[in-house]
Amino acid sequence: MDADEFAEKAVGLHERVARAVMATCGDRALSEECAAEALLRSWERVEAGDELRSLEGWTMTVAINVCRSRVRRMGAERRALERFHATESPAATAGSHDDTGDRRPAEHVMAAVLSLPERQREVVALHYLEDMSTAEIAEIVGSTPNAVRNALHHARTTLACVLAPEAGTTDEAEQEVQR
């Protein structure tokens, strides 16, 4: 790949990567920053003459890794702040995790996805937004196709429970949600 090819792909790739990352972290600014950071690193590889098997896959991998790193760092900072403000009234932070309010369906889906464990979020994002195969996802998240299938299965099982009302079903999954 030469520089022109990279440049032509950059804008579209940025959007795709940012969208997928957004579904794993829920933060638009962070996802766009991760996508940009990944693009820069991809360019460094391209410029160095590396033959990337898949520019898209490599950039997506880097973006997700960067996102993981940032989110974990933010989590550590948040926990530190929580410890610092441990004497504050719990009411001060109440409601910040309220997932039951009125939401548009899309927001409801996003909230449900963001409630999944990290690996499942990544798998869901790549599967539903990027339409990737399990093998492709496995390569990006550093796992195996079987593990991806497992993660996807668990994620969908969870999402089926949470999103059951959206599908208009009244089975035990819905009852589970109501409980």
Partner: protein, 758 residues
Amino acid sequence: MTADRDRLESGPGSTPADLDVIISSGLRGSVDGVGRVQPGELAARLRELDSRSGRQGRGSATSAPANRRRGRYVGIAVAASILMAAAGIGIWLTNDGGNSELDVVSEEPPPPPVGPFDGYATGWHEIDTSPLPSLEAVTMAFVDTELVVAGARTDGSGSGTDLFAYDVVERTWRELPDPPLTGAQIVGTGGAVVAVAAAQGASPGAAVAGQWSVLEGFDEGTPAWSEPSEVPIAPGLASAGALGPRTPTGFLNLLWTGNRVVDMTHGAVLDPSTGSSEPLEMPDDLVKYAHLLSSNAVWTGREVVLAAYSDGGALRWDADGGLLGPIEGSLPPGGSTGTYVREATAIADNGRVLLFDREGTGSAIALDPGSGAWTQLPDLPTDPAATYCPTLASSVGTPVVEACSGDGSMGSLVTFVDGTWAGTDPPPQTSGPCCAGQWLGIEGALFTWVPDTEDPPGSAGLSLWIPSESADAAVRGAPGQPVPPGQSGMDPSCPVELLADLGPVLPGELRDGPEPGRGGMPDSEPNSEPDSEDMCARHWSAGEDSGVYVTQSVGGLGHGLTDASASGEFRWGTIEDGFGIEFTGEPAWSASAHGIGEADFSRLVEELLVETDRSGPTQLREVRADTTGPTTGSAIGSVSAASPGGDPIISIEFEEHPSIYVSAQQSPDASTIECQPAPTGAPWYLTVQLTSASLASGEGSPYSNVGLDGAGLSEVLGSATACNAGGTVVLAFGLEGSHPITIHSDDAAGLITIDLSR
């Protein structure tokens, strides 16, 4: 991209198709517009990101300013290319381009590389260490133009870690402030020094956590250490009760990636620029990669790679410590598909990972992390008697490896040019003891440190080796010049003074295999034939070196041993009711393996040990390394083994930690286990009773301790169950065929691996 969706066969709630639609449309709606930017906006964003990113602080050891310029160039160039592509301009803006809007013109071309070694002729240069106190446990880093040496004073004075810097241009020493850490090891980060002190134990409740600190203002005349921070331990390691790999010389495996310090031993990522740290991401199935403890991780310039002589796969991380995933390789040349993996010394060289077998074969192989392909390299010219060698290897633009001699002394080195290994001149100091030296290789230079072994303390040996065109040419002109054993002070026989205090050792004839039915040597017969093969082992038993070195000597299972005072002796022959081998050591631990007859014992040893293709006698050294298993920390006790005709096959009792009792029985006997019947069909049945308060904390939660034991029992054995038997947690699982079993005690910081091949 092809769609290959994996639909749920069935699931609660809506139908799979409905659910897919809901998720897909919901997600797409939520992220609509995210990342959608105009080319100019993206270009500006990239430029901004690049200008404020850590790149500006990421320099190599010798050219930080150049890298700062380089960092900006990257962002500007890609931004410009995007703009031009959007405008349909099919040219590429180079660093000399003329887009004033992007401020490219103001960017100066990178200056020629700084050459701190310009004043040095090729070959060896001895550096005067007389201004330094006598130091031990030395680690080195190269920052700007200075070699930084960190170590502990052998006389016990000082703060525990002293730092000195030698300016290779000025050729002068200066003392740096002591880090606020005891027993710290250092790594250079381009413009600073990071010191890390090892944790004692890997469990969440470890008595002493690892700590790290950064020497700031290093080159401004007012260097000062930051407040020490705790080094996190990767949860995967903590749950397995083990630390990660160490360097071949037993130190923490610290790698500067240009962005972060990746501490592979603790499984941590340290950011010197912010002082923040986080656990290193580990694969979920970490136990699957236990074979990687037999090697050390390296930074290839693009990624951190941890590989071993095994088809079990390698792992890699990016410069920020993000897990890039496994490298599912094929079986490397000379590698193993079993649980026993050759110990190896790894270095990075031109993007590849080179592994050097440390078990006397001279085997050398290379892994291309990009393709996962292995390449067989020519064997190193190695004395077969040289075990646990090479421990010293580096890359100075070309790989450089210590020449392995039978006596284990630090001799000359070999380098690889044009497809062959060849010797070089020996360093000025060659008389260091086995495995105790240190190397630091950077582009175009190699520093070697030989510790002071004099009494009273004298001066350590510090040398600088400069490769050159002529030297390389000489190598090329004389390919295949091996370094013969015994050359350059590498006398293959053991120095008498090193053997004097070792006490009884394995007789040489045992290396050739005991004859069935033949009696063993008397228990305490001194060794009459110096046995260079077991040199390192003897160092271990004699306790003549630091615990770190001990860790290195005893093999891959010994990671984490830090007890410098361990010493003891071997005996073999009639032990209790049978024939066997016993190692007793101080403080307060012993290990023995015995059977009902020599032939059975020999066979049994072969069965018990993880390696079966290296027959009997040469394994005996590893009886205590492997079957005694807990060669780590304080989780040591005794091992006994009996013929399969007897009741127990293996019994391990942790005398210092009477919390674990392991026994293997035939299935019928195992059925007496109260909580769990024996899994049917399993030819052998292993029970593990965990009785310590910490391990029994899962009372009432019968499966919790399975996870505590490293997430490996259930995965490896498949049928692990646990229950509470009157305060005793019992794990029971069936064994079918050959299974690696990984067990740890909560505060052991180590792994025990036993192969119950039947």
